[in-house]
Symmetry: C2
Subunit: 404 residues, 2 copies
């Protein structure tokens, strides 16, 4: 497997575009994105577990009930959630795409991201749909990635090439992250395309299994969004023999998916609202997988630890505290904690108690842009990773007045 | 029932003191507090559910196994947690008090608050114990309240007078709040004294029942501390007939306890680390008590909502979002949301969707120091309140470098 360029357009048969249509006031920010496959694609998705669900998400769930799709339309600037005409707008969006591209409305995935509970109008999308579809191109991924951004500061895209049954396949994804991110079964917006041939059933199995170790292990601020979804479209244009059961090919497909998803997780965490640092908590030595996940997620979610990381303060007591209240059953007296970055590794806690350490070195290690928090539970063979970011003045600033 | 002065010394037979003994470097900050009852008192406590528990907390649990106590010693500046000599220090503290006051070491409650995992020495306490006990006085509550403060900016004390069986009783408390506050069954440090006569069993029942509606409904930052405890001592010097079962007297006692605890909750929330505003989420119309509590707590814990309140931004979508991911089962389409303060009341969401509202008025309402977030679920007769604070630049600043 190797990393390649092209994002969601890396796979055969996929084109994309992103434009400014007027949902946002700022004319320099694209607010509408489209991803299109020249042939119908098997399609799988996972959705937010928030009881408050955006209208686009509900419609998409219905559209994907047959396991097929051909296009994804997504706007930013308005979440189309908790507003009276949400359903109407979402349906309108899928119909506009359907008409312009000559595909079934049922084959359109609709997504929206932005402020919740604001009135929304279809008008800017009606006006923009022509330019949006006319501009679809094999190098349109960047524009689409920009079109789904909210408070993201960088666009997030990634692609890999891999082999299934002797055929070269490609897979790529784009993501919108930033805030209101604490996935529960699903996550923020992630759109993945592949030209691998895989049955809708196995595609869903691959996605549902993988998000447990990737997007579900990501937290920016503990708030689970109303509009989160991860969608993957597989159009089969790589002409490999269709993956329709477990085995070597499915494993390879899972590896590619995992590489894309871990990559996007890290990009989302590193670009969390106001973040200056990417935090990765690596838990090992757990008695079972669930304990490892619970501990890693609890550490990455602690506001106190996140603030300490912002200040490059090796306050490991907060790591232990977060493990202690995680709900996992474990022996506190066996826990070791270290901090690691490009500047080195330092052990700060052994057997649940502090050890003498070089504060200057700790400061240096924690001043890097990517910090690993290593937790060894010394109680078994299971491990898990979780991703997050530091808590900064800018998180407060961004969210103190988001609507205006 | 009426509010009176005196805090933990309001009740007959109680004296208190607080000094600087040298655990902290800052000589102007008291770091050691003592509360003493001239006679043995029935004593009840609730403790943190964090698996990582401070050594003082473990010792106190053993000491209170017989339901009696006579003194509470508490230091700030070091949590005496996750350090190798924790048990030894905690025992040393109780023995010093025991010797100086001529009471049983078993009757001493020991508590510590401050940084986790730092080496601690008994030496400053040995040096200070003479001044600490010699200075015990009926007007020493303020000094004790200061002695337990960490990043608190104001001391927290409250007292009430009430009647049991024709006898005037008094109850008062002090609290240390600020950060790492997200109680789970118990909470930060709260010490309550009363001269009411009540059996240890009924005292525990009263406390355990009441914290569900008070300290367990309080969150500053979602982090449950390792050292949290609420202790209540009742020495019976009011000479009322001992409360040893349910009935009118027990109900009155509960009312007094609830008044003290709600008062302290509000003080702790309003003085949360970096906070500029006290937030109170009042949920009504729930189908059961548990739903009401879950919803209120989830709203008060949302980092996004807390940041919006800091910015006086009426971003009610974040209230709905937090309700949606709370885990409570409810009908989203029935939810109404309003914001209220001394500047007025404004409805922002009706039946789960936004309503037109005056943004200028909303801004004015949300610019006050105390904000009520009113959530009507329209599904039943149960209600619950939760307390928290806004998320500010100063929270990040304080916690970016707490240890140094």
């Amino acid at each position: 497997m190797k990393q390649i360029e092209g994002g969601v357009c890396a796979a055969k048969g996929f084109t994309a575009n992103g434009i400014h249509c007027g949902i946002r006031k700022n004319r320099s920010k694209r607010d509408l994105a489209l991803i299109y496959s020249s042939t119908r694609a098997a399609c799988a998705a996972v959705y937010t577990q928030n009881l408050v669900k955006g209208a686009p998400l509900k419609l998409t769930k219905e559209h994907l009930s047959d396991g097929w799709a051909q296009a994804i339309i997504c706007n930013s600037g308005n979440a189309n959630t908790c507003n009276a005409n949400g359903r109407e707008i979402a349906e309108g969006m899928s119909e506009l795409v359907s008409k312009r591209l000559g595909i079934k409305a049922q084959d359109v995935v609709v997504a929206s991201t932005g402020v919740i509970g604001q009135p929304m109008s279809l008008e800017p999308i009606e006006k923009g749909i022509g330019a949006l579809t006319d501009g679809l191109s094999r190098d349109g991924c960047e524009k689409a990635a920009e079109g789904i951004m909210t408070t993201d500061t960088v666009k997030k895209e990634m692609a890999v090439e891999f082999t299934l049954g002797g055929k070269t396949c490609r897979m790529g994804g784009i993501a919108k992250g930033s805030g209101m991110i604490h996935p529960n079964m699903a996550t923020m917006l992630v759109f993945i395309t592949t030209d691998a041939a895989i049955s809708a059933e196995m595609l869903q199995k691959a996605l549902s299994g993988n998000v447990q170790n990737t997007f579900n292990m990501l937290s920016i601020d503990g708030d689970t969004s109303t509009n989160d979804m991860v969608v993957v479209m597989a159009n089969g244009q790589a002409e490999n023999e269709e993956v329709n059961g477990e085995g070597e090919d499915f494993d390879r497909f899972m590896q590619a998916l995992n590489t894309i998803n871990v990559g996007l997780c890290r990009m989302i965490a590193g670009d969390g609202e106001g973040a200056t640092k990417l935090l990765e908590c690596k838990v090992s030595g757990a008695s079972d997988k669930s304990t490892a996940r619970t501990v890693a997620k609890s550490v990455i979610c602690s506001s106190l630890l996140k603030a300490a990381m912002f200040g490059a303060d090796a306050n490991w007591g907060r790591v232990l505290c977060a493990i202690g209240y995680s709900g996992a059953q474990l022996d506190v007296d066996k826990i070791d904690v270290s901090f690691q970055s490009d500047a080195g590794l330092i052990e700060v806690c052994k057997n649940g108690a502090g050890v003498d350490f070089d504060e200057a070195l700790a400061k240096k290690i924690l001043s890097e842009k990517e910090i690993d928090i290593l937790v060894e539970l010394n109680s078994g063979a299971f491990s898990a990773d979780a991703w997050g970011c530091d808590l900064t003045y800018d998180y407060v600033k961004i969210n103190g007045d988001y609507r205006t």
